[in-house]
């Protein structure tokens, strides 16, 4: 049997759909509403959801890409994309080998991970002061 | 004994015991009166026995037209219960799997939604018949402990089976469901529930007597 002789069947759009996408979009809408009204941010952990094969990609298509994208390098890269819906961020953390370790939808004006952390600022300030004192001498 | 060991027992030796009691008891109860024979009828036959006997089995399964409204209620509720119970028992895919894995024979299943409707109707009919039994003075008077016992034993498998896919703990509900089924199997030969077979032999006998006398049963 040659590989060419294996018949290829195109699956229809609904073949594997079990309705998770609509449910997710509804949840996103309600979280976005909360952000808009009460300035409350929210998160959805995509790893904890029983998505059917293909639904992840469908969600990507449904949310699309917006104006902002950012990249963080901290024990592996992280990709932060504002989706087509402002306030809805897709945050994907990778490890150094390029596997996804966390995959989140963050509904916020700015994702938490982008903000500078106080501890890092303290350490950075200390470094800067050391440098200034060295320059002064 | 943890839940897994209990489930394993119920799907194994427990089921085996229940099936032995059920099959042995029911075959015995069916055959014993038949083999006991009857007194020789000295009257000259005015018709056959086999034909009228079989006809009566069929005829009495049909819906009787001339009845009082109360009679209608019992007949309709009885039909709904029996049909619902049989559909649930025979056409749920999980039940067909049981038969397939045991005897190798199988048939197409009905969708789970249809089974659920059948089970709910069956339960509703059982509930209505129960209310009728305790409110009707005559029925209440002639009902004994066994009547209530077999009602509970018949209701439980339907209820627990219906609850299976809604239960928070599938395994626990499956255990309860199988226990209820095995209790029912064990109880059948010792109670009125043996009518699941003997009803046909007694109907045949009624028809046969009438046939011998040359009258309609």
């Amino acid at each position: 049997m040659s590989p060419q002789s294996i018949p290829i069947h195109a699956l229809t759009e609904e073949a594997h759909s079990i309705g998770n996408i609509r449910a997710l979009l509804t949840e996103i809408a309600s979280l976005l509403d909360k952000l808009d009204r009460n300035n409350e941010s929210g998160m959805i952990d995509l790893n904890s959801l029983p998505l059917a094969p293909g639904e992840y990609e469908k969600l990507r298509l449904a949310l699309g890409r917006g104006e902002v994208s950012a990249r963080i390098d901290a024990i592996g890269p992280s990709e932060i994309i504002e989706t087509h819906y402002p306030g809805v961020w897709w945050v994907t953390h990778y490890n150094v080998e390029g596997d996804i370790v966390a995959d989140l939808l963050e509904i916020a004006t700015i994702p938490e991970i982008i903000k500078s952390q106080p501890e890092d600022m303290h350490a950075g300030l200390a470094r800067l002061r050391t440098r200034l004192s060295e320059v002064a001498e | 004994m943890n839940q897994h060991a209990l489930l394993f027992f119920l799907r194994g030796q427990g089921l085996k015991f229940a099936v032995i009691v059920f099959t042995f008891g029911l075959i015995y109860r069916l055959l014993h009166p038949v083999l006991l024979g009857r007194k020789k009828n000295l009257a000259a036959p005015r018709g056959g026995e086999w034909g009228p006997g079989m006809r009566t089995i069929w005829h009495r399964s049909l819906f009787p037209v001339r009845l009082t409204p109360r009679g209608h209620f019992i007949i309709i509720a009885g039909y709904i219960f029996h049909l619902g119970f049989l559909i649930t028992l025979l056409f749920l895919s999980q039940h067909i799997e049981l038969v397939k894995n045991t005897f190798g024979i199988y048939w197409p299943a009905l969708p789970p939604g249809a089974i659920s409707i059948a089970a709910v109707l069956s339960i509703a009919a059982l509930a209505a018949l129960f209310v009728h039994r305790i409110t009707d003075p005559v029925k209440r008077l002639i009902s004994d402990f066994q009547d209530y016992l077999v009602w509970v034993l018949t209701l439980l498998p339907l209820l627990t089976g219906l609850a299976l896919d809604m239960a928070a703990d599938y395994q626990r509900m499956l255990i309860v469901h199988i226990i209820s089924v095995e209790l029912l199997l064990i109880a059948i030969p010792f109670t009125k529930l043996a009518h699941m077979l003997t009803t046909f032999s007694s109907r045949w006998y009624n028809g046969a007597i009438a046939g011998y006398k040359g009258v309609k049963a």
């Binding site: 592996g76 989140l104 938490e112 | 799907r11 194994g12 089921l15 099936v19 099959t23």
Partner: protein
């Protein structure tokens, strides 16, 4: 390595930023099945935590559990976790051998008495005084009892140490038992699975480090956050089960369409584990997604619970012959009893006397 410094000090030494640590905690929260918002709080707590000493004992096992953990898909994550603990004894991973290896275990036990974590994989054989498995000339039973005494808590990794596992399968020649059958006076967490999901192992360790306590456990002492729901509950093929769409063989149309595998013996409805959401091999797939039913490996006695291919609704014994035998026996007894009863009737009829004038 210094043993009593906090994690934040160690991270600073290694030049790991707080943001990187927050990312790590986000990944941890995700695998611990905690709400993603709790990552910041976790980072706070973890940064202040001290590295606990961990002694890992391997008994009657196949090293699959250690393989699962060390080859898991997030090496940096797991290595960070290992940075957070001080693994003082693990005879597959440690460099030391012989007397030096045993000494490190004894030292850890002495120095951290009452504080160290004991991790166990593999079952413990107790037949014949436990001679079926020994380490350094001592039985597993002996080692476990000795090491358990000073442990703050025990983590049983894998189905063997949790429930006895495959060594415990009938006829169980070595008398293999679970840790909980031997140690009764210590808190035990069972992380069952054959092998267990690696992130569940790290998740439980992380929970202990973050909160200083063991996670909430179910009635089989498994952490509820991973074992709280069944495979069936979270299975993406569940809608097919609800619609009654089942694969009948492994290569029919239903199997190709990804329908429910209940009729092919899937044990998803009675199996508690996180495979359906956490998945395996870097979130690639899990058995059902690959087209095979769940074996129920995270449950007690899964090896002896009937065929992997018998549907849950079918019997685990063959009742065909039994049914036939019972029917024949019933018929036989009916024949015997009816002939006996016929005789009785006959005799009763014979005993009748004809009434005479005298009787009147």
């Amino acid at each position: 390595m210094k043993d009593h410094e906090t994690l934040s000090e160690r991270l600073a030494e290694q030049g790991i930023s707080r943001r990187a640590f927050l990312k790590f905690c986000t990944a941890l929260a995700s695998l611990m099945a905690l709400p993603p918002e709790s990552a910041a709080a976790m980072a706070q707590a973890l940064a202040k935590s001290l590295r606990p000493s961990v002694i890992w004992l391997s008994f009657q096992e196949c090293t699959g559990c250690t393989e699962s953990l060390t080859r898991s898909y997030t090496p940096t994550l797991e290595s960070l976790i290992f940075d957070m603990i001080s693994l003082d004894y693990h005879h597959t991973l440690q460099a030391a051998s012989g007397f030096a290896a045993e000494k490190s275990r004894e030292d850890a036990m002495k120095n951290f008495y009452g504080k160290y974590l004991l991790v166990v994989d593999g079952s413990i054989p107790i037949n014949g005084g436990g001679v079926y498995s020994t380490i350094a000339g001592r039985t597993n039973l002996d080692l476990l009892q000795e090491t358990a005494k000073g442990a703050a808590a025990i983590i049983a990794v894998g189905t063997c140490s949790s429930f006895g596992g495959i060594p415990n399968a009938r006829p169980n020649p070595t008398g293999a038992v679970a840790v909980s059958d031997i140690v009764r006076d210590k808190p035990i967490v069972n992380i069952s699975g054959c092998p267990p999901i690696p992130s569940v192992i790290t998740g439980v360790l992380a929970h202990y480090l973050t909160f200083g306590t063991l996670p909430d456990l179910d009635d089989l002492n498994r952490p509820r956050s991973y074992y709280g729901t069944t495979i069936h509950d979270r299975c993406y093929r569940r809608p097919f089960y609800d619609q009654g769409k089942f694969a009948k063989t492994f290569d029919d149309e239903g199997a190709k369409n990804g329908w429910c595998l209940f009729e092919l013996g899937c044990k998803g409805p009675t199996t508690h584990n996180a495979c359906a959401t956490t998945k395996w091999n870097g979130g690639t797939s899990f058995p059902i997604e690959s087209g095979h039913g769940c074996l129920g490996c995270s449950e007690p006695h899964f090896w002896d619970a009937g065929s992997f291919y018998t549907p849950l609704s079918a019997p685990v014994v063959n009742i065909e012959a039994t049914t036939l035998g019972a029917a024949i026996a019933g018929a036989g007894v009916a024949v015997a009893m009816s002939s006996l009863d016929r005789n009785k009737i006959h005799r009763a009829q014979q005993a009748h006397e004809i009434m005479s004038v005298k009787d009147l």
